[in-house]
């Protein structure tokens, strides 16, 4: 830490304090510990990076986890199944929300994680799915839940294709903004098409699904149903990733031109991942509609899209288990820290910046890191 860059740091942080004063007034002093913390964290991160012990520790655990993959997945599934037995209704409700958001995060991960396409209006598909179920089962009672569920997925998929065809020809940040526009347009239409969507009053009295006589009214039953859907979605996505489709998507993310030269129709593969994402988004929307029983436009704001993106980023871009962990952290944690709910979004914003700068591959690391460590292990000492 030579003098020149100490002086540089000093000016840097002093400047930040200066611009905080008009807003925080005397509370600016609270900002100081935050800086010291950030500065210390940064030093620790560098230390942890080079230190032999830390690196080997991380490698050994990733290896062990990868080695017996089946066991870890089995363990998690068992714990997830047992939760409703011990938990109170409130906690079951919270974990059901976690599951719904995990489905959404896994769906978004197909596009953001695999094909490297940033979708900002993803909540639009969630809304289309929810309202399709709401309209079909409650508003006009045309069919039962079991018909409405696939239809919701298909409706969202159709929107995905209609949006994808023009949008997927665009460059990264343009595409992100077009999808943002899509999300807002969906919400504005939901608010204004009173006849179809009930406008701001939304749709009431959406029934819970039922198998013959037995309806999933009790939170515990609905939790297991949602868990089954989540497991199915993860199975499908994991198997697709570990097949020609996953490889094609990752190849496109890596280098579109090279993929094209090898005979891959880049546009069609983009559209496939985009509409698959939309389909699972619609399914999650349908579950949300029957879980809550009442839907209105204010549940589908831009912040929800950002929340889901944050889960994917935090968990690890392109890592299916990462998205589930992200959902768990970002939905369950704030419930237990209810009194800090005011600071929730502030922390999310800071976390997104910190992760992009220090650890773009997220908590669980993208698939690549794990693979790389395995490589080094193969090379031997």
């Amino acid at each position: 830490m030579n003098a020149r860059n100490l002086r540089h740091d000093l000016f840097f942080y002093l400047g930040i304090l200066l611009i905080c004063v008009p807003f925080l007034k005397i509370h600016t002093l609270y900002v100081l510990p935050v800086f010291l913390g950030a500065w210390g964290l940064r030093r620790f991160a560098d230390f942890a990076g080079e230190n032999r012990l830390m690196v080997t520790l991380r490698e050994r655990t990733v290896n062990s986890v990868l080695a017996h993959r089946r066991v870890t997945v089995g363990l998690i599934l068992a714990v997830a199944l047992l939760i409703p037995l011990g938990a109170s209704d409130y906690l079951i409700e919270v974990f059901t929300s976690v599951i719904l958001y995990a489905i959404l995060a896994t769906a978004l991960n197909i596009t953001v994680g695999l094909t490297g396409v940033l979708v900002l209006g993803f909540i639009g598909f969630y809304a289309v799915g929810a309202y399709t179920t709401g309209i079909l089962t409650a508003k006009f009672a045309l069919c039962g839940f079991w018909i409405a569920l696939p239809l919701s997925g298909l409706a969202a998929m159709l929107c995905g294709i209609l949006l994808g065809i023009p949008a997927l020809r665009l460059r990264g940040d343009y595409l992100a903004v077009v999808t943002l526009g899509f999300g807002e347009i969906i919400r504005i239409f939901l608010t204004n098409l009173n006849g179809l969507t009930g406008g701001p009053n939304g749709i009431l009295g959406i029934k819970r699904p039922s198998f013959g006589l037995f309806t999933l009214d009790h939170p515990r039953d609905f939790y297991w149903f949602a868990l089954a859907v989540l497991s199915l979605v993860i199975l499908i996505v994991a198997r697709l990733v570990d097949s020609r489709y996953g490889r094609a998507w990752i190849a496109i993310r890596e280098n579109e031109m090279a993929a094209g030269a090898l005979g891959i129709n880049v546009f069609r593969k983009h559209l496939l991942s985009f509409s698959l994402s939309a389909f699972f988004g619609g399914i999650a929307g349908s579950l949300f509609a029957v879980k809550q029983g009442f839907i209105s436009p204010d549940s589908f704001t831009f912040y929800e899209s950002v929340l889901i993106l944050c889960m994917v980023v935090l968990g690890g871009i392109g890592n299916v288990a990462g998205s589930v962990t992200g959902a768990l952290l970002l939905i369950a944690a704030p419930e237990f820290l209810r009194e800090f709910s005011l600071y929730r979004m502030l922390v999310f914003g800071a976390v997104m910046i910190a992760f992009m700068v220090f650890r773009p591959s997220g908590l669980l690391g993208s698939r690549v890191i794990a693979q790389e460590i395995k490589d080094r292990a193969d090379d031997g000492p």
């Binding site: 520790l57 991380r58 655990t61 990733v62 986890v65 870890t72 363990l75 998690i76 714990v79 997830a80 047992l82 939760i83 011990g86 938990a87 109170s88 209704d89 409130y90 906690l91 409700e93 919270v94 974990f95 929300s97 504005i188 608010t191 204004n192 406008g199 701001p200 009053n201 939304g202 009431l204 009295g205 009214d217 939170p219 809550q292 029983g293 009442f294 839907i295 209105s296 204010d298 549940s299 288990a321 589930v324 962990t325 768990l328 952290l329 369950a332 419930e335 237990f336 209810r338 709910s341 005011l342 908590l363 669980l364 690391g365």
Partner: protein, 368 residues
């Protein structure tokens, strides 16, 4: 290590929830739900303080059925998903009666959770008829309804102001649009509705709408919505040369309207309950509230009465059990700060006298 991290977290959550919620029965819990944070947090805190005052008064007299009353606050941040989470939290913590949810888009989904758990819910401000149309026996409200409020505003416009041309604006929320539709229904044939426009809540620029309204040269402009948009509309309407007065509902009854709208709000009408500062029965409430929490909000007195109704019903029912309390609430003949309150079959207040207020030299005054 990472997958184990996930397992650890989930395990921790399991442990956290297996321990039973505190000791049973030693305390009677009353829930108070509303938006305690966010842009309209002022409505949430008014409600919370009203309920706190009632609970403290009862606890001073030894609580109810010999047990202390514990107030459990719930912050739904004016968002339906959070409202359902708060409702479930109340059910788990063994709350026996709930005062709340402020806006309709929160009260309605929460009422389903309370209905399933058999816990009585009294809303102090949800004026949308749909809440009690659901046919839940445990759902009541102490405030008026949009149709009553709409009728009062329409009658005032037709009979007192004798207007012929009316423009209607609403903010496309469950409350705003419902109230605007009720007002339109009750106008009758003699009046021509020259405009019926929705605006986007949270926007700043309403100059296109007010320009369109001005060119329709109405005698009166009705606005269904909250004071923020109300103030902006009035201000921009006058800025483009509009002259007709505005009339709104309980949503615009707040000092904030005068601050945002500025001098342009002079002569604006609003329908609301009788002036709680004038009615004799509310004198006690106003003094105690001012001592503890400063100037009472428009809805504090409603929350105060709602809490008292629940506590009085618990005493009459002789048991802190939602199923027993609900019939007592339905049959109650209550005299409180708002005066005489009785509930009809659907759970609405039998008669809720709406009166019209007017802004005169920057203050709300009741029109006689």
């Amino acid at each position: 290590m990472k997958k184990l991290l996930v397992v650890g977290l989930v395990g921790l959550a399991m442990v956290a929830c297996t321990k039973k919620e505190g000791q049973e029965g030693a305390v009677i819990k009353i829930g108070a739900a509303g938006q305690l944070t966010g842009p309209e947090a002022v409505f949430g805190s008014d409600m919370l303080n009203g309920v706190k005052l009632a609970v403290e008064e009862w606890n001073a007299k030894g609580g109810v059925l010999g047990k202390k009353i514990e107030l459990v606050p719930g912050d739904d941040q004016a968002e339906p998903r959070q409202a359902v989470a708060v409702a479930n939290k109340f059910v788990t913590e063994g709350v026996v009666g709930v005062v709340g949810h402020f806006n309709s888009s929160c009260s309605i989904p929460a009422s389903e959770v309370y209905h399933k758990a058999g816990i009585p819910q009294i809303s102090q401000a949800c004026t949308n008829p749909k809440l009690t149309d659901q046919g839940f026996d445990n759902v009541f409200r102490v405030c008026g309804l949009d149709d009553q409020q709409g009728k009062a505003a329409a009658d005032f416009a037709v009979q007192k102001l004798k207007v012929k041309r009316v423009a209607i604006i609403h903010d496309k929320t469950t409350y705003g649009q419902g109230f605007a539709e009720e007002f339109k229904k009750n106008l009758g044939t003699g009046v021509e509705v020259v405009a019926f426009e929705g605006i986007a809540k949270g926007e700043k620029d309403y100059s296109p709408v007010v320009t369109k309204i001005k060119s329709a040269n109405p005698d009166l402009v009705f606005f269904g919505g909250i004071f923020t948009e109300g103030g902006l509309l009035i201000r921009q309407y006058k800025a483009v040369g509009g002259t007709a007065p505005f009339i709104g509902g309980d949503g615009i009854m707040s000092e904030e309207l005068l601050k945002i709208g500025g001098p342009a709000t002079e002569g604006t009408y609003a329908t609301f309950g009788p002036d709680t500062k004038e009615i004799p029965s509310a004198k006690g409430f106003n003094e105690n509230y001012r001592k503890k929490y400063g100037e009472p909000g428009v809805y504090s007195v409603y929350a105060y009465d709602a809490a008292n109704i629940i506590l009085q019903s618990i005493q009459k029912a002789g048991a802190a059990d939602g199923k027993k309390i609900t019939p007592e609430i339905r049959a109650i003949d209550y005299n409180g700060a708002l005066g005489h309150i009785q509930f009809d079959a659907k759970g609405d207040v039998k008669e809720s006298p709406y009166v019209v207020w007017k802004v005169e030299n920057n203050k709300f005054k009741q029109v006689k």
